[in-house]
């Protein structure tokens, strides 16, 4: 029975996955209902167990591949007739976990995925994490594995680190590494104004950022394992690493050596800086597209910020967006571009910035958010998940949009205002 609806679910997903700009209104008949049983010892801190339960339930909900019942059940790990069926919940799956602290602050997690229709354990695994503070990644890892087990589309993006800068005061910011829910946070750089962090590669073992703590804005690269910091380039006015090529060897940089912001391509191997745009106004925020052969960027050459594309080495431009009068930030992956657009020209309107998705292959445009201030979109590698910053009244939050499920989720930052993000 379970196999049948899983197959139907997977088939439905694969049928609708061909164009993310087409909004999916009804995309699957039935999601497997899952409940959670905590088989941890009563000696474990209840507060910790509750937080773990909240994160793993949240992960499976955000995956959009399960119907999640948030009820917190206690059980034995071996289970009994009642615990292995939980027939009153009418669930399809039971995720049972047992957490225990080991020596050296390790956490050991034993999990079982039980078919609630026949009481059989379908999936069993043991995990260990060596730093208690990183328990959110333990939950994410379990969620990724459970999701993979039922054959649903990959959600490995949940395991990615998010890096963001947050303002703490005037000309003061910190760079923080977190998980996508902000449950885990570690400040990796503080003191002065350090902004626009950008992962240097897919392994996420180094990042670029702009420092305003010297005579000129300076782009640095920091290696996380050693803490080594390298100066990459400096420029009067501003310098930002907007994107990194797939091989990690080239950077798209916004720079203004003469006070004019233009887009440059920096080759890390040859140390050569090549100017890609030349315009007296504002050109910023370039992203590689089409296998790194073209770039898409924001320019005000029409009198307002809008999205343009050009082939590297070619002077001609292509206007990519014919909607909105203030489209000032974007993210691109292969053929898809997501951008933020101010809905009203005045700053006094409410519901100001929304996110839109377009494809370089079609004329469709899909609105992703309906209200509020939604900025700084960033694609995950799966092309189906977008992370963005949502500004609330006195707070900012990380937002996650699941394109195929047409759902979004918010994770508020309790202190500080997010300046920029990457993942």
């Amino acid at each position: 029975m379970i196999k049948k609806f899983i197959m139907l679910f997977v088939l439905t997903c694969s049928l609708v996955a061909y164009d993310s700009t087409v909004e999916i209104v009804k995309r699957m008949d039935r999601l497997p209902k899952i409940i959670f049983q905590d088989a941890s010892s009563e000696n474990m801190q209840q507060g910790f167990l509750q937080k773990f339960h909240k994160i793993i339930a949240g992960d499976l909900r955000v995956s959009s591949h399960f119907l999640v019942d948030d009820t917190y059940f206690k059980s034995s790990f071996d289970g009994n007739l009642q615990e292995n069926f939980m027939s009153e919940t009418k669930s399809d799956l039971i995720l049972r976990y047992q957490l225990s602290f080991q020596e050296d602050e390790n956490i050991l997690a034993k999990i079982k995925l039980i078919n609630a229709k026949n009481g059989q354990t379908d999936f069993y695994k043991i995990y260990q994490i060596s730093d208690t503070q990183r328990y959110p990644f333990l939950a994410h890892k379990i969620a990724v594995d459970i999701n993979a087990y039922i054959g649903a589309p990959d959600i490995k993006w949940m395991e990615q680190f998010v890096i963001f800068a947050k303002y703490t005061d005037a000309k003061q910011s910190e760079i923080v590494i977190s998980d996508y829910t902000l449950s885990f946070q570690k400040t990796v750089l503080k003191g002065g104004l350090n902004i626009f962090p950008k992962w240097a590669n897919k392994n996420q073992d180094a990042f670029y950022y702009t420092s305003y703590n010297g005579a000129k804005p300076t782009l640095f690269k920091v290696y996380l394992s050693s803490g080594k910091r390298e100066r990459v380039y400096a420029s009067d006015g501003m310098i930002v690493c907007s994107d990194v090529s797939k091989d990690g060897n080239k950077l798209l940089v916004t720079m203004a050596p003469q006070g004019q912001t233009d887009i440059f391509l920096y080759d890390l191997t040859s140390k050569k800086m090549q100017k890609l745009t030349q315009y007296q106004g504002i050109d910023v925020g370039a992203n590689f597209i089409d296998d790194d052969s073209r770039i898409v960027f924001v320019s005000d050459r029409l009198g307002y910020p809008n999205i343009f594309a050009k082939t590297i080495g070619d002077s001609s431009l292509e206007q990519m967006v014919y909607h909105g009068k203030n489209n000032n930030s974007l993210s691109a992956i292969e053929n898809y571009i997501v951008y933020s657009s101010r809905e009203k020209e005045s700053e006094f309107g409410s519901g100001t910035f929304n996110l839109y998705l377009i494809s370089t292959q079609t004329d469709f445009i899909r609105q992703l958010t309906a209200s509020g201030v939604n900025l700084y979109p960033r694609f995950a590698d799966d092309k189906e998940t977008i992370l963005y910053i949502k500004y609330l009244k006195d707070q900012s939050a990380l937002g996650v949009i699941r394109l195929n499920a047409n759902k979004s989720y918010h994770f508020p930052l309790k202190v500080g205002k997010i300046q920029s993000i990457d993942w």
């Binding site: 390790n106 695994k125 995990y127 260990q128 994490i129 060596s130 730093d131 990183r134 990644f137 333990l138 890892k141 395991e159 005037a170 000309k171 990796v188 750089l189 503080k190 003191g191 002065g192 104004l193 350090n194 902004i195 996420q204 420092s211 305003y212 703590n213 010297g214 920091v222 290696y223 996380l224 394992s225 050693s226 803490g227 080594k228 910091r229 009067d236 501003m238 930002v240 907007s242 916004t254 203004a256 006070g259 912001t261 504002i282 050109d283 910023v284 925020g285 924001v298 910020p305 203030n326 000032n328 930030s329 700053e347 006094f348 910035f353 900025l375 700084y376 205002k417 997010i418 300046q419």
Partner: protein, 186 residues
């Protein structure tokens, strides 16, 4: 003076231990481990300059006099404000620029470089906002040059929305934050 400022700024930079590995800590064979970052120490090494021992009392006195002169001149300059999403110097701001140009061309200020800091309001948080701040600084620089201030004395920087003078979320506040302001450098 610059050296002291740079040393101080460098000393203020702290890099904490990073997250070196992600997946290796979640594994089946219990072999995962955390590599402890040595970033704190390395950055301390880079900035291992004791600024306090570098200067004699005489130099300190001279610096105090320069700082005092700079503070006096900076207090006479006025901020240049901009319209929403614009970087053209407004007509009503032209006299402000002219007055600032007179100050920068005065005998007392001739020896100093001028840093024009462009700023934007909180609307937008990304590169475009920083670029907008920079264009504002550039417009002001061009106006100052037109008023006879030597271009090579002027450097520009954008702080985007990171340096608000007013932190409330209303029309008046946003207008105050869309500005260019001035710092003198020895």
């Amino acid at each position: 003076m610059k050296k002291i400022a740079l040393a101080g700024l460098t000393l203020s930079l702290l890099i904490f231990s990073g997250c070196s590995q992600k997946n290796p800590e979640i594994d089946m064979d219990k072999s995962g481990s955390t590599t402890v970052s040595t970033a704190d120490q390395k950055v301390s090494d880079i900035s291992g300059v004791d600024a306090n021992t570098m200067h004699s009392q005489n130099m300190q006195n001279a610096q105090n006099a320069i700082e005092s002169m700079i503070a006096n001149l900076e207090s006479k300059t006025a901020k240049v404000f901009f319209d929403f999403d614009k970087y053209v110097v407004r007509e009503d701001m032209q006299p402000v620029v002219a007055t600032n140009a007179q100050i920068f061309n005065s005998t007392d200020a001739q020896a100093f470089s001028i840093k024009v800091e462009g700023n934007s309001d909180e609307w937008g948080t990304d590169e475009y906002n920083y670029a907008l701040g920079l264009k504002r600084a550039k417009s002001v620089k061009d106006s100052l040059v037109a008023q006879g201030v030597a271009g090579e004395r002027i450097m520009m920087v954008s702080y985007g929305e990171s340096n608000p003078t007013c932190k409330e979320s209303n029309k008046t506040c946003w207008a105050q934050n869309r500005r260019a302001e001035f710092k003198l450098l020895p």
